[in-house]
Assembly symmetry: D2
Homo-oligomer: 355 residues x 4
């Protein structure tokens, strides 16, 4: 059976996202790591030599002695996952797509391009219809690029999806309190965050204000029509390892009673759940009843880090309702999102089974 | 000269607010500590024995060996500062006022009572006109009660004051990231805040949503007409020692261009500055230009902790503008506010000079 | 099968140690929770209502709706685990033993009594010979008391055991940097530990300086002869959630070359490993080669928190060698130790199988 | 008067040590900043543009608009302070000395060279006799190099000095818990220290084990005879902003009773105190009586960060005594040490008064 697993190439394998991918791919039922690639200064080293492993527990044994390759499209793999920094991801991902590889990217570079799906399997699998268009337009043969959202977008858009689908969003205000791991490694200097909060994350507010509109947009006649509501974001970095917390306020076209909102959230279920994708959370949204939840340290691991956790939904004197939500930024907000996208592609027959 | 200083009684002297009062009253030009009082289990002990001093540096020498008294209105002082917990402040403060003491309270109990000024010297000194009404209604002779706002309200309302006065506020959305010292001592358990954010502070949102409307209200014919705009608050506790950070969004009746807003904020100056009150900040609002300011650890001490520090003012796609603000919660947000109120009273001749 | 599991009563079920016991007993192959008990103010509530659950992830479903009972020896269980605070553990544990229950205690009260085993299954199973003596002396019928060491002792003594057995210890100097969870909940106030280290833990140094001498002592003719070497301890609390780090220096009667020391440590294996006790770590000591290990956050979960992790062993200019060690204080240092003791008792036939 | 102040050149002005020097030199009675220099990428920028200022409060106004120069010995100053990284300090400092500048260095490069004083004004001013020897040997005219110790050495050696002078040290064991600022900026990554302790600091143990022996050595006939006792160090990084805490154990040739030890420590006073050097602490050692002191956050600012703070002195079962000590690593442990050295030189006439 193992021999039939699809071989994945992990680009940027030694980074924060790459490490999570390595962890999540251990014992995956459908995929196995076929190659790891990183920047030039790591090429030729073993994973163990090159990687500043920052996840609790040891480096998985299967990867320790694999050798890092260059991020060139000559890897013996069936698809690639990209956890590359945005400074280089843009061209490298195009090179791989052009060379025939399906590319599943966590980087921001191609997210907002009109022929690239910004895919969340629970929300917009219909956007995969962009793929043939992308191939044609870019002249790709078997390759293509699919992206997953920014970490703070991911947690947010999962909560917005059932609300928008059922009640029509008009306005979304969000103030984030984001974890350190979102900045990669070494990332935030300890002297900047001890006894402190940073009220700025470069480029983050723009991502949150635009990506959800594409994800919740409708595919029509060859393109995605952006959703038509307003988002305003204020982003902060707090002294938390993993788990982005977001204080959200929402207004609707048709304001529902509170219990309907909670039902829409906690009852949300979609394609990944129906198809039993291996990395899919049983519940993509977990609603907690406690007065002081969600909390990053206590709740980020719910559904193995693949859910958006929500609490404190209550009426707002300016918007219709307000609540707090939490998402694990390196699992559902990055590596887990990439992996779930790949699982959906496989189920849909969009990945080639290895011979 | 020293013999002419007014004698202050500090109620709740060993608590977080009390400690700051003790610190701020050291070498004060007009006031001196005449008595310290605390709960029964501390009565009879020296300050040093009873107080879990948590401010950097040693306990001021002048207070170390003073003996703690009971919170009964038989202290040989000219006025009292109350840093009592709200569970007991209500009645004790009434008892002192009835016994003839001016009471300057940091507790929430009497803040919203219609004959009690919720005083911020920069904003609403006119509300002191409530005092004769209060005295008459309550049957007080020389005593009365004046309150200062909640810590997170204080930082916010200072920013709102010039904006409301000049442009007319319509809506204010605020998400707070509040410091640990706001919860007193022992307060927040370390296991609750390490690697975490708490998305709830009991009673805090209600205070922020109501207190500014009274502070920014207008005194007319014997009462304060509440200001007429909406506030929505979402409160969080973060792993910071001192300094409440708040992400604020505002809409106006008459939306000004951005530079006018910044001018209104950074140019704000008022009665305490004109009268040179000893604890008054030179600038009650400090506007910082950096892209990533204000930050609690770096900016909370500006103007000796007596200013609201603002940064990142920018247009908002939902409200007119959004920005971040910071206030030192135990200085301007508590002890410093009480002290500045007393200084205003003294300048206005509302405190009796000791014979 | 399930019906044949031994029923465990957990005393102090809502505390830090109790919570870990609840977690570790979920799906245990031999034991199940038969009753939970706590202080009077929790009696009658469900576990979920009474417990400030502080472990990542939700409260295990099996325990949520169980009702808390009083800590009286009328529980329908086959043995009890005590995570009670030392202020009440002393008498309660005696009451249970007298009433016929085997008591496995994590509290300090009876540890140093001469007829009570201070049991570490890898080190001193021979000390179980004290049980018949204890029963006789105390007049217990089927009941008895067995204790496990203090959390910082536990991590240390595991490292000392193979060293003492093979090379004869003469002097042990240890400086601890202990985690917050060791102080229970609410425990350490956040204002005491943010940006800080506390150089004192009440009673801790005494425990570390005495308990290992009993654990490593020899059972002879009805009593345990204390081991004959010196220990000096200096204890500190640091801003870490779980995992006690200890800087250790050791001198031997027969100083071995360094490689023999590392071999003695990493090769250590004993009765729990031979007997495959369900909670036994495969390797009770894990030696890490990296220059900067062990680290609490990265290494505390090795062997599911049941091992002592050691690194940086090197010669010392005063002692023979020095190194750092790490132990998970609420798993191997508390709940896991209690549970492993129970597993050993069961294997040895010292627990009564339920009818 | 101002025109007669000596002009100081600060090398490495934008680094952690440089920032403290800038802060401490504001309003200094004898010195003023005459030039600031930094690495090539900062040259030509103003201090404000180039410096990631990390000290609470704003950048001192006097320095904001000064332009950074290259670290070349053509600065119009009377002496230079070096806070350069050790990777470049070695040669740059020689260049300045050769060009005639007195160089007061905080870097490790020249500390252990036999003709370079490793100066602590309270301890070894006699070592200044090395200066003429250095000048002659190196062929310097008016220039020379003087160094101050490593930050963790500084705090330790201040405590050891009176003990060694009066009772003769034999053995010193020290386990450090060092602050983040000791690693410079960006220094320690936040992901490495949140919920963690790092049991290794590169090169630190070697410094602590050797530098005190030189500092406490005796100048005899042209050289410093190293003190003859043993030091063993184990170094850790903890999640503290400023203030190195050290757990120390000591043995003496002539073991004194405990009260004599405390007297020797708290009564320690020396040349900087007698001469009233502006930066000298009134008490170079502060002994605190509390059971849980010193603590970094509460005690690092005692004596404006220029003292070693000691507590918990008690007998040890292996050594004679053990205690905890604390020193502010960027003040007395770095910038303040450099400055105090310069003040001593000025008093001793070893700096040229500007014409």
């Amino acid at each position: 059976m193992t021999t039939k697993k699809l071989r994945v190439g992990v680009l940027g394998a030694t980074g924060t996202v790459g490490q999570r991918l390595i962890q999540l791919l251990e014992n995956h039922p459908w995929f196995k790591v076929g190659a790891i690639a990183a920047s030039d200064r790591s090429v030729g080293k073993t994973f163990q030599q090159a990687c500043p492993w920052k996840i609790s527990g040891p480096i998985p044994e299967y990867i320790r002695d694999q050798t890092l390759k260059s991020c060139k499209p000559n890897l013996a793999v069936d698809l690639v996952f990209s956890g590359l920094p945005s400074s280089i991801a843009g061209q490298v991902e195009i090179d791989f797509a052009r060379a025939g590889y399906p590319v599943l990217s966590n980087s921001r570079n191609h997210r907002m391009e009109e022929d690239v799906p910004l895919l969340v399997p629970e929300i917009n699998p219909s956007h995969l219809a962009l793929i043939p268009i992308q191939k044609k337009r870019q002249g790709y043969s078997s390759g293509y690029i699919i992206t997953n959202p920014n970490c703070s977008t991911m947690a947010l858009v999962m909560a917005l999806a059932p609300l928008h689908q059922r009640f029509g969003l008009e306005q979304v205000n969000v103030v984030t309190m984001q974890a350190l791991s979102g900045a990669g490694y070494p990332g935030v200097a300890s002297l900047d965050i001890i006894d402190n909060v940073l009220p700025y994350i470069d480029g983050e507010e723009e991502k949150i204000e635009t990506e959800p509109l594409k994800i919740l947009g409708e595919y029509q006649a060859g393109k995605v029509i952006l959703a038509n509501f307003k988002i305003s974001a204020q982003c902060h970095r707090v002294n938390v390892q993993d788990g982005h917390l977001e204080a959200v306020s929402v207004s609707f076209r048709h304001c529902p009673p509170q219990h309907q909102l909670v039902e829409a959230l906690s009852g949300f279920s979609s394609l990944p759940q129906e198809r039993n994708l291996p990395s899919a959370p049983r519940f993509p949204i977990v609603y907690l009843e406690g007065t002081d939840r969600p909390q990053p340290r206590l709740d980020r691991h719910l559904e193995k880090g693949m859910a958006t956790v929500i609490g404190r939904l209550r009426p707002c004197s300016i918007f219709d309702y307000k609540f707090d939500l939490l998402g694990h930024n390196t699992i559902r907000g990055a590596a887990g999102a990439t992996l779930l996208n790949a699982e959906l592609l496989w189920k849909k027959g969009m990945l080639q089974s290895p011979k």
